[in-house]
């Protein structure tokens, strides 16, 4: 089976549409969404509707959780909080209903899916460095754990010896002797310096994972953001992927 995993759409419809077209050309059997459908971007209702259509499983992200009014945004940065205020006021009742069914985690055979971290996923921890990554391995026993949340794709593997290494290549054949922690990147707001959308393809027969980059119409999203009055900083960062 060929699976696609995508995350952190953040109401960027242009980016999501480009990825969905790519899912078709890659002939994915199933797509899984790892959370943060909304926040930052200008098209929350449209994105949630499309995610519902294309994803077999939909996980809850911290921005989705905040948009449902279930957490305070005092820990959000200024721009996230500002765009969350706009999001909460603009999303439809239907969008709320769809997001209320987003799950906290999902097990796909020997793969664990969570939005933020296998450690207390409901607390939305960030995996920002190798120390965080090392600690994360203490919280799952599956062959692989897939996360989003930080918008920065990575592959970290743990050897049988206990050594934890950062993989250099974007394509990796899974070894039975290793455990993997993979950040699948962000569709709607990449922050690794590459403004193209990012998602992960997993061929479960060949045991190969691969980060896939997809170019989209950044300018169109930026125009939509300006039209609804979202902060300039958020508009500008899309062009640089930072």
């Amino acid at each position: 089976m060929k699976y696609g995993f995508f995350s952190d759409v953040h109401a960027n419809l242009e980016a999501l549409k480009a990825c969905v077209i790519d899912f078709r050309s890659e002939k994915l059997d199933k797509a899984f969404f790892l959370g943060d459908a909304v926040g930052y971007g200008p098209s929350p209702d449209e994105c949630v509707k499309l995610i519902k259509e294309v994803a077999a499983v939909k996980l809850m992200g911290n921005h989705d959780y905040a948009a449902l009014g279930l957490m305070e945004t005092e820990f959000f940065n200024q721009y996230a909080a500002e765009s969350m205020g706009w999001t909460k006021n603009s999303i439809s009742r239907k969008t709320i209903e769809i997001m209320s069914n987003f799950e906290l985690k999902y097990e796909l055979d020997d793969v664990l899916l969570v939005h933020s971290s296998p450690k207390e996923p409901e607390l939305w921890h960030y995996i920002l460095d190798m120390d965080d990554a090392k600690e994360s391995f203490d919280y799952f026993t599956h062959r692989m754990c897939l996360v989003g949340h930080t918008h920065r794709p990575f592959v970290v593997c743990k050897e049988k010896s206990g050594e934890v290494l950062l993989a250099k290549q974007t394509e990796e054949t899974l070894s039975d002797d290793r455990q993997y922690l993979v950040n699948i990147g962000s569709v709607g707001q990449p922050r690794d310096g590459d403004p193209r959308s990012c998602y992960l393809i997993f061929d479960s027969q060949a045991r190969v994972i691969k980060h896939k980059r997809v170019a989209y119409n950044v300018k169109a999203t930026q125009n939509d953001m300006a039209r609804v009055g979202l902060p300039d900083y958020l508009i500008e960062r899309l062009a640089t992927g930072r």
């Binding site: 809850m60 209903e97 069914n101 799950e103 906290l104």
Partner: protein
């Protein structure tokens, strides 16, 4: 103008709209609202209407005055509060545009003290529970996996997801079907998931300001809301 609808065993017997600053309630005919029943004291209670609020004051009555099933001595009334005096209920509405003349009361009611005893017992139990937890709480009833759940934070989620603070069961229930949110005016129950899965006292709701003793039904699971007013 505020309105009081007086009911006896769910039958409306009087609609009372007034511009007076004080409305007296009691058994004797010199009261503004006469509740002719031996369970009602002569001068049982009064409602004082201020600029923006109404306060009910119990005049140390023998059988007590209850607001939303809770015994009170003095209580600020909120829209839709239900005052119980003897076998009568007075439904308080903050503003009324109705100007129809009040009905006449007919007949003398027979005293039943069973309801009063039940109310007193229920009120004492609620007070004991909330004084122990120091917060409002949910009592688990049909299908709930707890006896008491303290509402000790600003948001409580109810549903079948592992994310939900309070678990509920039922066909086609959403992961997070509803939330209880602490707002300045009280606790709101808000339905987030599929419509037609959240009921208050048997009625489907999307948003509802919780009152003491409300019965919340999420899917097949039932809870009772106990408000801490201390």
């Amino acid at each position: 103008m505020p309105e009081l609808i007086v009911k006896f065993e769910d039958k409306i017997i009087e609609k009372f709209i007034t511009e007076k600053k004080r409305v007296t309630i009691g058994r004797t005919p010199d009261n503004d609202i006469v509740l002719d029943n031996r369970g009602v004291s002569r001068r049982h209670a009064q409602i004082e209407f201020g600029e923006n609020q109404a306060v009910i004051i119990d005049n140390e009555s023998l059988n007590g005055t209850f607001v939303n099933s809770r015994r009170v001595s003095e209580e600020v009334l909120k829209d839709n509060d239900v005052i119980t005096i003897g076998k009568f209920t007075l439904h308080f509405h903050q503003a009324s545009e109705r100007t129809s003349a009040p009905f006449d009361m007919n007949g003398t009611m027979v005293l039943h003290t069973k309801k009063q005893r039940e109310l007193v017992a229920k009120d004492q139990r609620s007070r004991q529970l909330t004084s122990r937890t120091g917060s409002s709480l949910l009592l688990g009833e049909a299908g709930a996996d707890f006896e008491q759940f303290p509402i000790d934070r600003n948001v409580i989620t109810i549903g079948k997801s592992s994310l939900a603070n309070v678990k509920a069961k039922g066909f086609m229930l959403s992961g997070i079907q509803a939330k209880i949110v602490n707002e300045p005016e009280g606790f709101w129950l808000v339905n987030l998931g599929r419509k037609g899965k959240t009921k208050i006292n048997g009625e489907y709701v999307e948003r509802h300001l919780l009152r003491n003793d409300d019965i919340i039904q999420i899917g097949k699971t039932v809870y009772r809301f106990i408000e801490n007013r201390s």
